[in-house]
């Protein structure tokens, strides 16, 4: 299925390599990856541990830099960005969803979302979002004033999704977003992400959990730092239909 709002590439990766030096050993985490992410796409990246899928996500998210190659996101070449440039890039263009939710424990649900909103608004105009509406959109509007410690894992992860949306990014990156959730909560979160892609956001989810691939528009199989297989789902499942 092609998203209704999709219009062209959001991100392009050309000949990306990433090599980590560990003592005298060089580990090639990514080895010549070429990839284009379309607007409104839901992409699932599958692969065994150490295959390079998280490295790919980190490079897209601007929390790591490639050894060689070129990364362009939303028209911005971030390949050689300095740390502070990458900070501004992440602040404005990328929404992150982590396996361990990573909410700020001293902020309530709505404040966690507001924090990302305030960050995005710090350097110029505020994004066209409303933290309370975002929480309602992910189905936890009534939990706005609760602290993370007062919420279940699923609720926390949905706050994390709302936080990722606060800056109104084109790109949402999820690293095992259901890894610490039970089946029911996992489906709820995936449902929210799926909705976002349908509304025009590009969502990239990295996971070990292969059944999740069934809801993706596109599935990338990574092994030994290379995308060795790419599948397009012509008829992706709805998250409600998922079983794992």
């Amino acid at each position: 299925m092609t998203p209704a709002t999709a219009t062209g590439a959001v991100a392009t990766l050309e000949g990306i390599t990433k090599t980590y030096k560990m003592g005298e050993v060089s580990i090639h985490a990514l080895n010549g990856v070429d990839l284009t992410l379309e607007r409104g796409e839901f992409v699932v990246v599958l692969g065994p541990s150490g295959s390079g899928k998280t490295t790919l996500l980190n490079l897209l998210g601007g929390i790591d830099s490639p050894t060689s190659g070129r990364i362009v996101v939303d028209g911005e070449d971030i390949t050689n960005h300095k740390r502070n440039q990458l900070t501004y890039y992440r602040r404005e263009k990328v929404g992150f969803i982590f396996q361990f939710f990573n909410l700020i424990p001293t902020l309530t649900a709505i404040e966690n979302v507001q924090y990302a909103f305030q960050l995005a608004a710090r350097d110029g105009s505020a994004p066209d979002t409303d933290p309370q509406s975002l929480l309602e959109r992910v189905g936890i509007g009534d939990r706005a004033s609760h602290f993370p410690s007062q919420m279940s894992g699923g609720e926390q992860q949905r706050v994390a999704v709302a936080r990722a949306l606060a800056k109104d990014p084109w790109l949402i990156l999820g690293d095992e977003p259901t890894g610490n959730l039970d089946f029911r909560m996992g489906k709820l979160v995936l449902g929210t992400l799926k909705q976002l892609s349908e509304q025009g956001k590009t969502v990239v989810v990295v996971t070990h959990n292969s059944p999740i691939a069934a809801i993706a528009d596109r599935v990338l199989h990574i092994r030994d730092g290379k995308i060795f297989e790419e599948e397009r789902n012509e008829n992706p499942l709805s998250p409600d239909e998922l079983v794992w």
């Binding site: 982590f98 424990p105 902020l107 924090y115 305030q118 960050l119 410690s149």
Partner: protein, 789 residues
């Protein structure tokens, strides 16, 4: 077990910064103990050895004048082991540009004296073949750069006599170069010249006479009885004073120094050790807590509780061992430095810096115990857990509980809406124990800094106040004997002299019940203006003097337990019966133990029916060197002191105290830095994932640094008032402990100092933040956002 120890080593390496900081804390605690206790023990040992080797008199008696034959009479008294009679004359010495006070002491030319010996450190002892060859005190020689073979121009019998320095000696009686214990030691202005007894008699026209007896008492003899018997024998010759060994001016000073050092050794190292051990306990406890999962894993793999405890014991002992080695090394180096400073200030030749078990043992034992307790207690808690529970890492369970602090609930409306502002405030309250650790660290640091700062201010205040509002004169002049008060006119007629206050100074024993003290009473006119009185109790000083009563310093009043209106007994060597006097006023005196009365009253105690004088306070407008020379040229003048010289000398003397302060300041700042570094680093490490997440979602480094800083500043707002208050209490205790009968340090802090103290602690805080903030800047976000906390 080998594997666990290997893991211990790797844990150390992983947290080398924090580990190093804990080691430094332990080392500082041990070093401060070794320095102060070691220096006090070195000084004590040197004093004891010197007293023994150089036969410091158990007591000495001064008379006006007695025939040398009386020495034989004293020797025959039961309990007297040895006696040395000699002629001691106070005079002046021409140094070319200026005059200095000189004390010429007669010694046997053919043999060392049996009591109060001297130790030649350069040149040779006296020789009958070299009657004009003399020995000079090493303190004066080094201050004035005088060597063997140089010539001294000593005033004797109205003329100047040239004497040649034959040897430079250490005199056990003049390690602190001063004549009375109320006097400030002044190496540059007070020369002690030892000459052949015959030569001294000839120079000063007193053949066959002695006026001072140094006496050693036999072991087991009753010294008090011996003193009474000696005074009985000497009574025909007017016993001016009898000075026991502990009151001997130099010995008193050395003992005071030892006592002060011991007091410091009891306070400062304990404070540093307390800070270091509690910081150690906190840091280790947090480290072990953070390894809960690993402890669980080790147990799951089959390691016993005992083996796990042994692992942390090894960790703690390793810290203790490294800290001890470093601390002992640093401490001994400091102890040696203090020893060198004593050499400079006290010219103690027998001072040796020795690493002593008493100094090292206690500190090492205390630190090791603290390390063990600090490491083992949290490990026991974790080892008791079931492995599955210890290893369990549920992101929900590990979640810190959030809440809005009361202050934000109450004042939130007035606070900025920015969460970057509110987060530091909430962080302060989110983990009270963590906040408490930071507060404790800051408070401890402040206690140390304020104690030291207060001492610095107190010395400054002491110097300023004493010589601006108490000692109002420009110069003092002392005569060798009582003179008619008309001698004051002679002084007044000197060029530049604007005012002269004549006084009569009488050595006395003041007695109240069983308590007695040797004092000097100054008889003065009620309208004399040389001394600024600060009356703490009773009438104004002039009224007291007019009423024929006495003004007593507060320290002496405390010792004697008397106040205004109480009666005391005054025993004078010049009259037979004790005289009763009423305390009219009690005055605050920071320096010395001056007792004041009217000239008439003091003259009566001096045994004369008409007012006399033996000293004068001079007010002068002109060159002080000229005044000094003019005063020395007056007949009968034994000593002249110029105020500026006294101030300079006092400042030099305080150099020793400043040296100690510098050491302690360094300790205070270093301890403060290490404590805060450790606390802040741990605070940051424990929030690694949170900080990394903030960076990942777009928080910039400047704001993150500011958040860490503002969190610490908020804690400083709590810590600073507590620390300042406790610091002032500690300073008060310290002042109390180091004040003596001779000088009282006021518990005074310059108001500006509060600003500097607060700025200092904030400066240290900011400096201590640098490494943890750098750590934040270097975080691997990809890794750190996945860390389980």
């Amino acid at each position: 077990m080998k594997m666990l120890l290997k893991k211990t080593w790797r844990d150390i390496w992983t947290r080398k910064g924090q580990f190093g900081a804990i080691v430094v804390l332990v080392a500082l605690g041990i070093a401060s103990y070794v320095i102060f206790v070691g220096a006090a023990l070195d000084l004590g040992a040197a004093a004891e050895t010197s007293n023994e080797d150089l036969a410091l008199a158990d007591f000495s008696a001064q008379v006006q004048s007695a025939p040398a034959s009386v020495v034989g009479e004293i020797e025959s008294i039961d309990g007297v082991a040895a006696v040395q009679g000699r002629l001691v004359v106070d005079t002046g010495m021409d140094m070319g540009d200026d005059e200095v006070a000189a004390r010429v002491i007669g010694l046997p030319a053919n043999a060392h004296p049996v009591v109060n010996d001297v130790l030649p450190i350069d040149g040779e002892y006296l020789s009958p073949d070299d009657p004009r060859g003399v020995l000079l005190s090493n303190s004066f020689a080094s201050e004035r750069d005088i060597a063997v073979g140089d010539t001294l121009s000593v005033r004797a019998g109205g003329a100047t006599t040239e004497l040649t320095v034959r040897g430079i000696v250490v005199s056990i009686e003049y390690l602190f170069p001063r004549r009375t214990k109320a006097e400030l030691p002044n190496a540059a202005e007070f020369a002690v010249v030892f000459a052949a007894q015959d030569e001294v008699e000839a120079l000063f026209g007193q053949p066959g006479t002695v006026n001072e007896f140094g006496i050693l008492v036999e072991d087991g003899a009753d010294r008090q009885q011996v003193i009474a018997d000696v005074e009985e024998v000497l009574s025909p010759y007017y016993v001016l004073t009898t000075v026991k060994q502990e009151d001997q001016p130099s010995n008193f000073g050395v003992n005071e120094e030892i006592t002060q050092n011991r007091t410091m050794a009891g306070l400062i190292p304990m404070l540093v050790l307390a800070i270091s051990t509690s910081s150690l306990a906190i840091a280790l406890s947090r480290l072990v807590q953070s390894q809960r999962g690993e402890i669980g894993l080790s147990k799951a793999l089959g390691y016993t509780d005992g083996q796990i405890l042994l692992q942390y014991l090894a960790f703690s002992l390793f810290i203790a061992l490294l800290g001890s080695v470093l601390g002992i090394g640093l401490g001994f180096w400091g102890q040696w430095g203090v020893g060198q400073t004593y050499q400079t200030f006290l010219n103690l030749p027998l001072l040796e810096s020795v690493l002593r078990f008493e100094a090292v043992g206690g500190a090492v034992a205390l630190s090791t115990l603290a390390c063990i307790v600090a490491g083992i207690a949290p490990a026991i808690r974790s080892a008791r857990m079931l492995p599955a529970r210890a290893m369990h890492q549920d992101p929900n369970l590990s979640q810190t509980k959030g809440s809005i602090p009361v202050i934000e609930r109450l004042l939130g409306w007035a606070m900025p809406k920015s969460l970057a502002f509110r987060m530091p405030l909430r962080n302060v309250f989110r983990n009270r124990r963590r906040a408490l650790y930071t507060v404790i660290g800051t408070v401890f640091s402040l206690i140390l800094i304020i104690s030291m700062w207060a001492m610095n201010d107190a010395f400054g205040f002491f110097l300023g106040d004493q010589f601006k509002s108490v000692e109002l004169w420009d110069a003092t002049v002392a005569f060798g004997q009582f003179e008619p008060t008309s001698r004051a006119d002679e002084i007044a007629s000197l060029d530049g002299v604007t005012r002269v206050d004549s006084v009569v100074v009488v050595p006395l024993t003041i007695v109240v019940g069983d308590t007695e003290r040797e004092i000097t009473l100054t008889g003065m006119e009620p309208d004399a203006g040389f001394h600024g009185f600060k009356v703490a109790e009773g009438a104004d000083a002039p009224d007291t003097l007019r009423a024929g009563d006495i003004v007593l310093p507060e320290t002496l009043a405390k010792v004697l337990d008397v106040g205004a209106g109480d009666a005391v007994l005054l025993e004078s060597p010049f009259i037979d019966a004790p005289v009763s006097a009423t305390v009219g006023s009690v005055s605050e005196e920071m320096l010395g133990i001056p007792v004041f009365a009217s000239t008439e009253f003091a003259s009566r105690l001096a045994g004369t029916s008409v007012p006399v004088m033996n000293a004068a306070y001079v007010f002068y407008d002109g060159d002080q060197g000229t005044l000094e020379r003019s005063l020395y040229s007056l007949p009968g003048v034994a000593n002249v002191q110029v105020k500026q010289v006294v101030v300079d000398m006092l400042e030099t003397m305080l150099g020793l105290a400043l040296f100690f302060m510098a050491i302690m300041f360094a300790f205070a700042f270093l301890v403060a830095f290490v404590v805060l570094y450790n606390t802040i680093t741990t605070n940051v490490i424990e929030r690694t994932r949170e900080i990394a997440t903030m960076q990942t979602i777009g928080e910039d480094r400047t704001h993150l640094a500011w958040m860490v800083t503002s969190e610490n500043l908020l804690l400083a707002v709590v810590s600073v008032p507590i620390g300042v208050w406790l610091g002032l209490q500690a300073a008060g205790v310290m002042f109390e402990a180091i004040s003596t009968e001779v000088y009282t340090l006021p518990a005074y802090i310059n108001p500006n100092s509060y600003v500097w103290i607060v700025l200092s602690i904030l400066g240290i805080l900011l400096l201590a933040e640098v490494p943890p903030i750098r750590r934040i800047f270097r975080l691997d976000l990809a890794e750190a956002t996945k860390v389980m906390e």
